[in-house]
């Protein structure tokens, strides 16, 4: 029996096949400052990765027609890696004898990469949690290998990395540190606050709109709002200033991240607790569980999936917001990103932005996998 082609995968497959026909795959410039000339995928002069790319595309196409999620997953990962490999090899060829030439990734690369990874994500979602983990490893391991092998070193993105090698690692650590430093107070305040909101409607009616209001303040404005009181505070109490708390830097960044993070944690704690069926609550009470036993044995385990979803949303949001915190001197990957944006060096901006995206996607996936299978 002939099935109709899959409605989700077919557009992705068409996008992957058609994009290189009308968008440039790479952009080649004589040096970092001048505008690049487009180079189409069909003009590339490297053989080996092309065959890998073609076979991966064939798998995706067949998978879309046959509705085979495994084929899509495998083919999609092959296409994703072949595109990177292809770009790296071509960059190596172009830059031979032209050390100042810059090879950047073009629109077709990004569109194809996005389409194919979205298809992989959807296929993995359909196949279950083991496939999600496999997809994550299927991106991380070959990419690590390609990066370590030096095949990608000629790409402009990696040239920017080579120039900033000494600040890249600390920036990643600082970024993670900002998120971690914000998550500890967020959980310590947000979970009890959610508990209080759940038990006391009057409190919830004040707390929830307040936290919602904070969410509507643009992040740069919130950083700005915190500058005045914090610098005033550190002037008033010199000890705080010496401890690093001031109008700019890490302190306002962490405070702002906590303020943004409180809403999803508090709201999900409260709604998780509210999702415990009244009959279960009544049974626990009637059985003779005291308040603490009810909380630890019944309420918390039953609210946990919703709470964990709140933590996931919060961490992913904080990873993104921490990039903006670079504007008030908090450092992190945002600093590299804004350097690139202000200098008009798109590859430098990407050097800051891509790890932020990778971190957010990885954390999201790992926390999804950590969630207990819903009963």
């Amino acid at each position: 029996m002939i099935q109709k082609p899959d409605r989700v995968f077919t557009p992705f497959a068409v996008l992957v096949l058609a994009t290189p026909l009308w968008l440039s795959f790479l952009s080649v410039a004589r040096n970092r400052l001048v505008a690049g000339q487009p180079m189409a995928l069909l003009d590339l002069a490297v053989a080996a990765p092309t065959w890998v790319l073609v076979s991966g595309m064939a798998m995706v196409l067949v998978g879309a027609i046959m509705r085979g999620s495994v084929l899509i997953l495998g083919g999609g990962l092959i296409v994703a890696m072949a595109l990177i490999w292809l770009a790296g090899d071509q960059a190596t060829v172009v830059t031979i004898g032209q050390p100042s030439a810059r090879v950047s990734l073009g629109a077709a690369f990004w569109v194809m990469q996005a389409a194919v990874l979205l298809a992989v994500a959807e296929a993995a979602r359909r196949l279950g949690s083991w496939a999600m983990l496999a997809a994550l490893l299927g991106v991380v391991l070959p990419l690590t290998f390609l990066l370590m092998s030096g095949r990608l070193d000629a790409l402009s993105l990696l040239r920017e990395y080579a120039n900033r090698r000494d600040i890249f690692g600390p920036a990643v650590l600082r970024h993670l540190g900002l998120v971690a430093a914000a998550m500890v107070p967020t959980l310590l305040i947000g979970i009890p606050l959610g508990l209080v909101c759940h038990r006391n409607n009057a409190v919830a009616r004040v707390v929830m709109p307040t936290l919602g209001l904070i969410q509507t303040i643009p992040s740069i404005a919130l950083f700005g709002l915190l500058m005045a009181p914090l610098s005033g505070l550190s002037a008033l109490v010199p000890f705080l200033g010496r401890a690093g708390i001031g109008g700019i830097g890490v302190a306002p960044a962490v405070i702002a991240l906590v303020l943004y993070s409180l809403l999803p944690i508090t709201r999900n704690t409260a709604s998780g607790l509210a999702s415990v069926p009244p009959a279960v609550r009544e049974a626990a009470l009637g059985m003779g569980m005291d308040d603490r036993q009810r909380f630890w044995r019944v309420d918390l385990p039953l609210a946990f999936p919703v709470l964990l979803a709140g933590i996931r949303i919060t961490v992913v949001q904080a990873i993104g917001l921490a990039a903006v915190a670079a504007l008030i001197g908090a450092g992190g990957l945002g600093a590299i990103m804004f350097d690139g944006l202000f200098a008009g060096a798109i590859d430098l901006a990407l050097l800051g932005a891509l790890p932020v995206i990778a971190m957010a996607v990885t954390v999201d996936l790992l926390l999804r996998l950590a969630a207990p299978a819903s009963a």
């Binding site: 009959a279 009544e282 049974a283 009637g286 059985m287 003779g288 036993q293 039953l302 009963a375």
Partner: protein, 305 residues
């Protein structure tokens, strides 16, 4: 076992229970029956202090419940609610073992008790590892009753436990509960709005209206002598005679000698009458499980009240 003395309770200024007195004897099966809003659930929930009375005294095994720690009191009283209220994140076995776990029983004793209760409630031992969402409504309520009985409580409080079940499952669980009451002689307080259920199971029926007792007596006396028109309406005017017959075992109207078609000796007189009508006879031979003739019943004998 349980005594209410002048108990009253109002919610938002509306009296739900007024000047309520009740004595439930040790080993009794007491059914609290009334329409919605008659205060029957409130009375039950005052026994294990889920609700505190505004006035009056409630004694449990001679002690004022107000002097007892509510959580410790509740562990001495099994509690079954309509929707079972099983813990969805725990296995059936762990649900049954909930109160023993609170009481700190050791593993071996708990496991033995869970196995014993699953047998008593006729639950397949393989269900021990199942999660509540895998159970049918009847199975879930069996687990609910097993959980309430787990720590061998002094009384069993049941709030419309079979209200959400289909008629066949309900009848099976009613028979189960009657058997458990016979075997364990536990004091049971049972809230229902189903008069047939109350008459069939209880030894003491308390009819409630607007938080007051209309009548508090045995099922047979309730049918024979309803205290007023309100109770009469509740027990049903036209089929009261049949309900009375249903309380009577066939062996109580036995006359010597075999006469007519055979029926088993464990049915009630209402079923015997039904059988007579079905077969167009006025006499039935009563035999025991081995086929031995125990005597016969006659239509005239059934009529004699």
């Amino acid at each position: 076992m349980i005594d209410f003395d002048g108990v009253a309770k109002a919610f938002d200024g509306r009296a739900v229970v007024q000047d309520f007195n009740l004595h439930v004897a040790d080993g009794a099966f007491c059914a609290l029956i009334g329409a919605s809003g008659s205060g029957k659930s409130t009375i039950l929930r005052m026994m294990n202090r889920l609700i505190e009375p505004d006035a009056g005294r409630i004694r449990f095994a001679g002690q004022d419940v107000a002097d007892l720690d509510p959580t410790l009191l509740r562990r001495r009283m099994g509690y079954v609610i309509q929707s079972a209220g099983l813990f969805p994140h725990w296995s059936v076995a762990r649900n049954i073992a909930a109160v023993p776990a609170l009481l700190g029983w050791d593993r071996a004793r708990t496991q033995a008790r869970v196995a014993e209760l699953m047998t008593l409630l006729r639950l397949d031992p393989a269900l021990g590892r199942a999660r509540p969402h895998e159970l049918s409504g009847g199975q879930a309520q069996r687990v609910g009753v097993a959980r309430a009985l787990a720590a061998d409580p002094d009384v069993l409080l049941m709030d419309e436990p079979f209200g959400a079940l289909d008629p066949i499952t309900r009848a099976a669980l009613q028979a189960e509960l009657a058997r458990i009451h016979r075997e364990t002689r536990k004091t049971i307080v049972f809230v229902t709005h189903d008069m047939d259920e109350a008459l069939q199971l209880a030894t003491q029926v308390v009819v409630l209206e607007d938080g007051r007792v209309l009548q508090d007596t045995s099922p047979a006396d309730l049918l024979a002598h309803p205290a007023n028109a309100g109770v009469g309406a509740f027990v049903g005017r036209l089929d009261r005679g049949l309900k009375l017959l249903s309380l009577l075992a066939i062996t109580e109207r036995l006359e010597p000698g075999a006469d007519g078609p055979e029926v088993p000796d464990d049915i009630d007189c209402r079923s015997a009458l039904s059988r007579m009508i079905e077969l167009s006879v006025d006499r039935l031979t009563v035999v025991d499980v081995t086929g031995q003739v125990r005597g016969h019943v006659a239509l005239a004998g059934l009529m004699r009240s």
